[in-house]
Amino acid sequence: MTDQSIDARNDAVARNQWWDVWDQFKTHKGAVMGACFFIFIVLAVYVGPWIWSIDPTYIDVRARNQGPTWAHPFGTDQLGRDMLARMMAGGQTSISVGLTAMGLALFLGTLVGVLAGYFKRIDGILMRLTDLFLALPLLPLLLVMVMLFRQPLSASFGPETGIFILIVIAIGITSWMPTARIVRGDVLALKEREFVLAARSIGTRPGKMILRHVLPNVMSPIMVSATLGIATAIITESALSFLGLGFPPDFPTWGRLLFDATDFMQQHPQRVMWPGLAISLTVLSVNYMGDGLRDALDPRIRGL
């Protein structure tokens, strides 16, 4: 602990620790750039369509396979649909898949991890379950899941939402295990920390204990898993598209757009470039954000 920190904040008003995290985060140039870019992408993708209001499904056959023009800054595809609009629509799906799949994986991972770490009795069984999932060959499982549930889900939620739910769930339930392991490890260590013992000596009930003492303190590994999870989910979705098991062909996602465009790589290089860049840069920015967050959430680095 640098003594400086004591006095520097002597008169500061109650200061949420997230401000400190933010202060540290700000010093990581890559992370800040990553965050800016990520926000930019999210805005572009969600707010963009309000400004660039061409319908991504509108077909203008006369204008097909065009390069960038003022009318179509990103060019058009083989049906003359505007690539910029499709990139935005695709981004919405890809980013939502990334975020929700990651959210699901984190939820499951944290739940299992915390329960296993906290309650000794179910630790064994939950960790066996985790091992089991780790030992399951995931890609085949993913493929089988998609095969199994694609129809029922599209039937009940419509093809897009159905597949969305399916892919999110598929990615989510096949990627929670590392988080669970890390969280469990942390919870086990936390349980030995004196403040948990202190809470126990006060008589804090298990539920409160988890919410108040355990969860907030495993936030940092969770946040880091989160950023990596977004990236992996986006990539997994695109791989599924490649194998023909992702979203239907008429439903743009970045992975799908990239895959569709690889055939045209020589003729219309811009068509691979946009989705390729979007995926890579998003993943990159998210990774940098993760790096920055890891540093910012680490009290040792934050200099507490």
Binding site: T2, D3, Q4, I6, D7, D23, Q24, T27, G303
Partner: protein, 334 residues
């Protein structure tokens, strides 16, 4: 203690700064001291007073960045260690100056057996063959009082207890017959009974090998027991320096005095209430322009707030950095 002898190590005006987010930590400010051959110099001071940083600056062991040794000279063997080339510095480290660190649990490499770790400097600095080094390593382990040395050379650090690991660390530091041994709180992590063993061992070894030792600690009791001379650090500076007995008999700096009073004893009269030093240690945010102890000092005066006292000689090889003269009970006239 051979008084006027040529010092083996002479540190003048050492200054070390850490660059941290949004500023600097001036951890060591203008520190000067010397070490005579065969002498055991105790360094005391509270946590964060710059003891470790001072010693690590001598041998360039601080990670840089963030550390930056800004100035001063460290004369050893006729050379300024702050200026010599990397190779000479490496030869000095381990070869001529041994180092023992505070935490015996983490200071040994867990994946190599201790034999290898002791032999490493032997082969590097003394050019020994593997066989010779092994023989010497065994001698060293025996020297620091580890029984069954032959066998234990093959053991890994985790198979040793804390006290034994610290002995291994000492063995490593002594491996190349260094002229100077720097021990940075080698017993702080240990129990009193083990600490007593190590202190005993150190005293014996020092007498036997005749090397100069710098012993960092924040336990005044330890210093009283083994040091010839004591340096007291506070806020990145040396505030007092004196031969041991002189210091305990006749503490000059108000910090030293307060420190001696706060410590309860196992023997002698029991105080009804402990003395305390009010306030907090200083922030080392900038190069000091005032006395670092002024806020907690009971004899502080106006002057202390805008002038940093020099170390004034008070005779008996004793100096203290205070404007107040404890002997006369009046401000120093400088």
């Amino acid at each position: 203690m051979p008084d006027g002898a040529q010092p083996v190590l002479d540190v003048r005006g050492l200054k070390t700064v850490f660059k941290i987010r949004g500023g600097e930590v001036h951890a060591v400010n203008d520190v000067s001291f010397d070490l005579k051959p065969g002498e055991l110099l105790g360094v005391v001071g509270e946590s964060g007073s710059g003891k470790s940083v001072t010693m690590m600056s001598l041998l360039g062991l601080l990670p840089s960045p963030p550390a930056d040794v800004r100035g001063g000279t460290v004369t050893f063997d006729g050379q300024d260690l702050l200026k010599v080339d990397a190779e000479t510095l490496r030869k000095t480290r381990g070869g001529k100056i041994g180092f023992v660190f505070q935490d015996p649990m983490t200071s040994l490499n867990p994946v190599y057996n201790v034999g290898m770790q002791i032999m490493e400097p032997l082969r590097k600095h003394m050019g020994m063959t593997k066989k010779q080094a092994a023989v010497r390593a065994k001698e060293l382990l025996e020297l620091v009082g580890i029984p069954d040395a032959d066998q234990r050379l093959k053991d890994y650090p985790h198979q040793f207890s804390g006290g034994m690991r610290q002995r291994v660390m000492i063995a490593i530091a002594l491996a190349c017959d260094p002229k100077v041994l720097v021990a940075d709180e080698p017993t702080t992590a240990l129990d009193v009974t083990i600490q007593a063993q190590i202190l005993e061992l150190m005293k014996e070894l020092q007498e036997r090998l005749g090397m100069a030792v710098i012993w960092i600690t924040h336990d005044l009791g330890v210093v009283a027991g083994i040091a010839d001379r004591v340096v007291v650090m506070y806020g990145g500076q040396i505030v007092e320096q004196a031969p041991t007995r002189e210091l305990f008999k006749n503490p000059q700096h108000p910090y030293t005095r307060a420190l001696l009073k706060t410590v309860p004893r196992v023997s002698g009269g029991r105080e009804e209430r402990l003395e305390i030093i009010e306030g907090q240690p200083p922030i080392l945010g900038a190069s000091p322009t005032a006395c670092p102890f002024r806020d907690r000092c009971d004899v502080a005066m106006d002057r202390c707030a805008h002038e940093n006292p020099q170390r004034y000689d008070v005779g008996n090889n004793h100096d203290a950095a205070c404007f107040y003269d404890a002997r006369t009970g009046a401000p120093r006239d400088v």
